[in-house]
């Protein structure tokens, strides 16, 4: 039996956003091949090719002390996987090529628009949407927004805005309050809990 050369190429690259510890990337690939031939010429040569791939990306909060979510570069990512097996001769043992890639940040969102992966990147980048909250969650959000309305200290207001990842309005604190209230309405439970515990809002009246 003649065994042709089988090659496997696995590649991965990542474009980090420049922030240390902002993104964790893990990838492992295992390839195995088995061939079984018998002296009996009436029995065909049997073979199997197995591939196992694991890709994991963890984008932790931008600021671990607050509920601020990682944004922009850290959460825009595309992972691609391409498997190609060329035709071979005996027992069809042509070369196998595996190409993988992980692209993050503007490189990911800047790919050609028609590509479905680019669309996926926009999806990951995300728009914060709202849906019906439970009465309890809504009451907690309402308590915080009422508290924000009463804040007259601009420094405190800007600190909350920063924690929520929104831009303070330099013309009018009411503009900042509008942004904060809107964002509070969009918060998921872990973020809401984080904001409730923040120095600026942990003393809001119950």
């Amino acid at each position: 039996m003649r065994l042709r050369t089988t090659t496997a190429l696995a590649g991965a690259f990542t474009v980090l956003c420049g922030c240390s510890n902002a993104l964790y990337f893990y990838e492992t690939e295992k390839i195995s091949m088995s061939l079984e031939g018998r002296p009996d010429s009436s029995q065909p040569v049997q073979g199997s090719l197995g591939l196992k791939q694991r890709v994991a990306v963890v984008a932790p909060p931008k600021d671990p002390d607050t509920m601020s979510r990682a944004r922009s570069d850290a959460v825009s990512m595309i992972s691609t996987f391409r498997f190609r097996k060329d035709k071979g001769g005996f027992a069809d043992l042509g070369p196998v090529t595996i190409q993988t890639a992980l692209v993050t940040g503007s490189a990911a969102t800047g790919l050609d628009r028609p590509k479905t992966q680019q669309v996926a990147a926009v999806q990951v980048t995300g728009v914060r949407t709202v849906g019906p909250d439970t009465p309890d969650i809504h009451a907690r959000k309402k308590r915080l927004t009422d508290c924000v309305i009463d804040i007259s200290d601009n420094t405190k207001l800007n600190a909350i805005a920063k924690k929520l990842g929104i831009t303070p309005n330099i013309d009018d604190p009411n503009g900042t309050k509008t942004g904060i209230k809107t964002r509070i309405g969009e918060l998921k439970l872990p973020e809401l809990e984080g904001l409730e515990k923040s120095d600026e809002l942990n003393s809001c009246p119950q």
Binding site: G131, P132, H138, T182
Partner: protein, 99 residues
């Protein structure tokens, strides 16, 4: 002085009742509803954009109703606040808000 506005986006799969609850909660948090519009500027997402005016929350809860054929239904004792494109259960519909 005119009031500031805030926008909230909802996903396209929601039914009219969850959307109504969402808008009512939005009025409670950021102010009365001003406008409803569809938003497909973030493909592949299809979103509905609710614009709220930062003003005192109105006393009466808002109601949303479908407008089959574009005809605005008559709701006794209610007046139309606004109408607009709205994704309801993944379909783009005309929805009227009443108070």
């Amino acid at each position: 002085m005119p009031n500031l506005t805030a926008v909230r986006f909802s996903e396209d799969h929601l039914g009219l009742d969850p959307i109504t609850t969402t808008v009512q909660q939005g009025e409670s948090l950021v102010g009365p509803l001003l406008a409803i519009s569809s938003c497909e500027s973030f493909p592949p997402k299809r979103l509905t954009c609710f614009t709220h005016e930062q003003a005192n929350a109105p006393g009466q809860a808002i109601e949303l109703h479908l407008c089959p054929g574009g005809a605005i239904p008559t709701i006794p004792g209610k007046t139309v606040v606004c109408i607009g494109n709205c994704f309801v259960e993944a379909k783009l519909r005309i929805v009227a808000a009443f108070r």
